[in-house]
Each structure stands twice: as structure tokens, then as C-alpha cells.
Symmetry: C2
Amino acid sequence: MNKPKVVVLGAGYGGLITVTRLQKLVGVNEADITLVNKNDYHYETTWLHEASAGTLHHDKCRYQIKDVISSRVNFVQDTVTSIKPEEKKIVLEKGELDYDYLVVSLGSQPETFGIQGLKEYAFGITNINAARQLREHIELQFATYQTEENKQDDRLTIVVGGAGFTGIEFLGELSNRVPKLCREYDIDPKKVRIICVEAAPTALPGFDAELVEYAVSHLERKGVEFKIGTAIKECTEDGIVVAKDDVMEEIKAGTVVWAAGVRGNSVVEEAGFENMRGRVKVNPDLRAPGHNEVFIIGDCSLIINEEINRPYPPTAQIAMQQGETCAKNLASLIKGQGEMEGFKPDIKGTVASLGEDDAVGTVFGKKLVGTKASFMKKMIDNRALFMVGGPGMVMKKGKFKFF
Amino acid sequence: MNKPKVVVLGAGYGGLITVTRLQKLVGVNEADITLVNKNDYHYETTWLHEASAGTLHHDKCRYQIKDVISSRVNFVQDTVTSIKPEEKKIVLEKGELDYDYLVVSLGSQPETFGIQGLKEYAFGITNINAARQLREHIELQFATYQTEENKQDDRLTIVVGGAGFTGIEFLGELSNRVPKLCREYDIDPKKVRIICVEAAPTALPGFDAELVEYAVSHLERKGVEFKIGTAIKECTEDGIVVAKDDVMEEIKAGTVVWAAGVRGNSVVEEAGFENMRGRVKVNPDLRAPGHNEVFIIGDCSLIINEEINRPYPPTAQIAMQQGETCAKNLASLIKGQGEMEGFKPDIKGTVASLGEDDAVGTVFGKKLVGTKASFMKKMIDNRALFMVGGPGMVMKKGKFKFF
């Protein structure tokens, strides 16, 4: 008898939870488990704003996948180029894989809404490589400033596109980092501008108005200029062009960061699943409609919040909860039990950090700001480590500088 | 009675020794002393290869000028734009100064021999600002590599133009730094190339052949490729074009460093003193011919080594010795004693470092390599701190990691 082959694509929050749960739920003789990931490490996507600003070393934001998966799991380090659901086949850059059951947990990609120049000139907070590059790009701007005969103050302007979750968290770290960069490179802090451009009528959409107000004034006190209700029209080598109420303005900047939106993965889109910008509205058991052997979880899945009849924003919290359900349902299929669990997000809270010592958010329905919120944020970060890697991983990579 | 005004231009090795000696030799009532310098700090020019490679923090290579000069010295932070010897006047970017006695210790400038593109595209190891920029530029190349779809291995190629003293010392640090950068940015060290191009028929001209051989094979073992007897013809955005025996070759490189020569200061040239590429062949008492109130020391002065009838290469060692003589002769003029001391360099030795734990050189006529030479090099570096700032400065900025 052939053991079913389970292939999991992506070792983000969803994929890793699936594999670490599944390796316990099904025996070595019951299924082969293969995990495919581009890198040999997992990274904490929700911590990348820190690595990008240079306030936390990127090695603190990642760990080796082999440290958390069982030796029975076949790990393939490769990049997925396409999924062929009809043939039950995965095409990788360096090979192919067949599957009986597939878990697609490939994560998101930046959504640039067709804005010209963003892909070419803006930096993203998307992965470890991008985070390191952004950190070093900003540092080189500061390092170059004093070497120039004609000092270009614009070189020290950093534009952040998007005042959503990632944008705000990055601004919190950046405003802590800038004074240190100024000391390192003998630069008058008054020369530095940090500008946040947000097309929506408010920062942190979805957050309570009081918390938004707290976050914005906290960041303004630290020197961030907000341009709310202002859309980026174009990104160039020298900065951006924005528009508010049909008035155009050019903002010259040495660094433009795009943190204003993600979409599902193009691999999912091209695989032929019914999707919206790379996200598949999955069945309650997390399977793709019409594909009983394909689970889609994390940022490539779309789950409707029925209270407001709108999709939940993709988060690590949901991806990890999906990973648990996905592993249970897979085990059930493999064991032929047929019992499938319906997925329902259990939103414990959402906290946006504003730097290492401040944050805003709602936890178990209670609004929090300041050190309490910051403490909760670190607990949430440590919990993600714990869920995948247990207490050892929390000790190794956890955040313990609370006050 | 008017006190004579002494103005010292430049707080490098020569200028700072002059001021720190002069402030003791002449009383407050005997002369006004003004020191002009672009920055409010002095930097150790001979340590810049370390700051540039990123193996020593630039703050270890500099100290505040006010920490070593007496409060009686009038310190002016400004840039010298011209010297008008006929009017006994100095024009600064933000003002003017009159003098009765002038000490010109403005240091050197890079000599690019008219090679096209060097000024635009090559980095120099010339001051703190340039060192920090070079360090960060190299780091950004490594940080960018993994972010690119089509990886550009050339991005990781570093070309060093010149296998003289600075070039060799920089290569020593760089070859120690590269493995650390590879770990930081997940790069296979085999992808990195360090290429040294030298037009002369040997590396380290002026050094004993045995020491040259030691230095070159040490650096080759650490991965440096030498192209000796090869001239840089052009520097472009993408790298350099070299020629050896009329055969042209293009070398693509993410970083080009020019470390192949210095000249005197253009301010000296434009002031009308008789000069050779910004260097003035001074009288034995260090005064400029025909200008009895102007001393020129350091890299802007030219001292002939009569044993070989060629100029001494400009070094920190000579600049500091000149500062001592200059201060004595100035004091003698101010006090009206008329006794002038003739300057004669006392070359105690020359040691080129090959990284933190190796070096080659000659000290008191004895050839040294390895840890002994490295120890002597650090002693020489600490001595420069001691000469200007005393034991306190050695404790603060000294190099004590000997083995």
C-alpha cells in the first residue's frame, strides 16, 4: 500500500504550524510529509518592521526550519514556480513534486495597485532579504550625506507609503532609530524628515478612533509627519508624487518604503483556483472549492467575517489557527476518518507596536496603550515562537525587554 | 603692544602637534593662537583603512579637538578656501582671519592622475565621512545581493586600485571583514572577489622584497587577487577598465576603491607658493621659500631624502616630527630669539598592517612580520595618540588587542 504524500508549500506561520502538528498526529507509516520552502529558515513576518528599521537584528527574527520539524519530514529548499492541481503536481525551480494532499501556505505578495515606479524604486518590508536591504539603504543615505559638497537634505527624507498596521509599526521603529543614525553620522536631526502618506481617511483603519489618535500623536511627537487622505500617484528615483483633493505635490526622498497593502500569491492565481487577487475563499474545512485534496491557509486564503460581511485581514494569528485546523483535518483524511473540523478565527486581540516601549491595541476586548500594550505585544510575539518551537525557541529568540 | 597672531590651518597630525606644543612654549601674553579645522574632531588618517573596511568603528579613529588643546587656543571650525600670503590673510567659508605667523598643515588630497571616472565612481579612504560611506556602500552591496531575482555576482566584487601602503592595509582589513559580511547576508564566500590592481611592477614599493612577498602571499591566502603591473584606464559605474601590456580588460565590480596616491592641497597650490602638485619644498626650518612668516608641514611639505635624492613619502611620522620643530621655531620667532632649528626626519620604522593580527615592516632597521610586526604597528598607533593627547587619550582610543 502506498502511503499518501502530503506536501506543504511555505514555512511561514501557517505552514510551520501545519507541519509541526501533523508530524505528531500521523505516524511515520501513515503518511510522507514534505515541506517546501525557499529558504532554510522561517522568519517572523510580523517582526520585519524592526529588522527593516535596524532596531532588531534580522537573525533574531528567524530560525532554522530543521530546528522545529521532525527528522521524518522531508524538507526541500526550493522555490515554487507553479501548482498543477489537475495533475497533483508542484513545479519547483529545481524539480517537481507529486502530492496526494497539498497545503498551500505561500504567504502574501506586495500589492502596488498599479502605481507607477513602486516596484522599481520603493522598498518593501516583505522578507529577511528585503529588510536587510532597506536597513542598509537607509544607513547608506545617512553615511553619504556628509561626504557631499552640496548636501542634499532630501537624501535624509524617508517616505512611508501606508499608515496601516505595518506602516505604523515601521514608523515606530524608524523614529527610534533615526536619532541613533544621526549620532553615528554626525547629522543634525532637524535635517531628517519622516513622512507617512496614507490614501485612506484615517491611519490604522479598523482600529478604535481613540487608539488611532494615541498612535498618531505619539509618532508625531517623535517627528513623523502624516499626510492622511493623500494618495501616492507615482514613485520615481527621486521620491514620490502625491495628490490630495486633486492637488499634486512632489516629495523628494532618499528612501521610499511601500507598506500599504498585500495580496495573495501569484502562484495561487496562476494555478487556476477561483481567487481574488491571489486569495481563495476556502470552504469551512479550509479546502479549496472543487479541490478536496488541496488546503489553502494563511495569506492566500480568504475568510469572511460574517459579523460585518467582509474578509478578515490576513494575520499571523489567523494563519496559525488555520494551521492547527488544517493539520487536524489532514490527519482525519489520512486516517480515513472523514470527520472535518470547520475553521472559525478566534481573534484574541490586535496590538500595533509604536517602538520598543509603546503600543496600542485591543486584547480580549480591552483597549490598551503604552507599556501595558507594549508588554502584550511582546507576549504575542513570544507566543508565536512558542507555538512552533516550544519554550526553547522562546528562550532563544524571545523578547524579554519589557520596561 | 600687539601680540602676534599665530594661525594654524588643519588639525591633522602636524597641526595638532604644533598647537599642543606651542601652547606650552609661548605664554598667553606672548601670542594669540588660532586653530582652524573643518571638523570639530581630529581623526587618525592612518587608521581609516580599518574604519572603511568596517573592522574598527570610526569613533575609535577620532577625538574631539577641544579635548587636547588648551582653552587659550581659539578654535575655529571652518573650511579654508584660500590663503593670501601677500595680505597675510586666510579666507574661510564663513569668514576671514589675519595672521602674523601661519602654519599650513592642511593635509593631502587624492591624486587621480586624470584617470576618467575615478572622481565620480571610485571611493576614497580619505576622511571619516568617506570611510563611513565606503563601509556602508560595501555593506549595501552584500545586503542587496539576495534581494535580486537575477543575482549579480559582480556586485560582490571589490576592486582596490593601488597596492601601496593604504591599499595593502585596506586589503588586510577587507579580507577579514568579508567572511563576516557573508555570514550576515547569507552569501557564499566563493561569490566574493577582491581584486587589487597596481600599475607599478611590485606591491608595496619601497618595502624590502621579502616583506612584499610575505604581504602578498598572506593576502592571496585570504582570497585577494593581485593584478600587478596593470594600470587602471577608466572607472565606470559598473567597474573598471585595466590594461596590461596593451591588453585591455573590463572588470565589473560593485565597489571600486582608489587608494593609489595622494597629492598636496589645492589651497596651497592656488596660494602662489612654488609647489609640486600642492607640495612645497620648504626651507630646513620648515618655512616656505620667500615667506618668512609661513610654515608648511605635513603632506603639503616636501622634504628631500638626501641619501637617495628623492622626496620622503608623506607620513604621519614625519608630520608629527615637523610639528615639534615648527612649534619650537615659531616660539623662537615670537620671543625674538631668532634661533631656528633645522628639520631632519628620524625614521624609526614603517609597518604596514595586514589585518588585526598580522603586519610587515621595518623597525629600527630590523625586518619584522607576523604578530611581532602587528604588535609594533599597534604601538606606533598608540604612540600617535600619546604624542597629542597623552596617556588619557591612549586609554580612551588605544589599541590593546595584541594577540
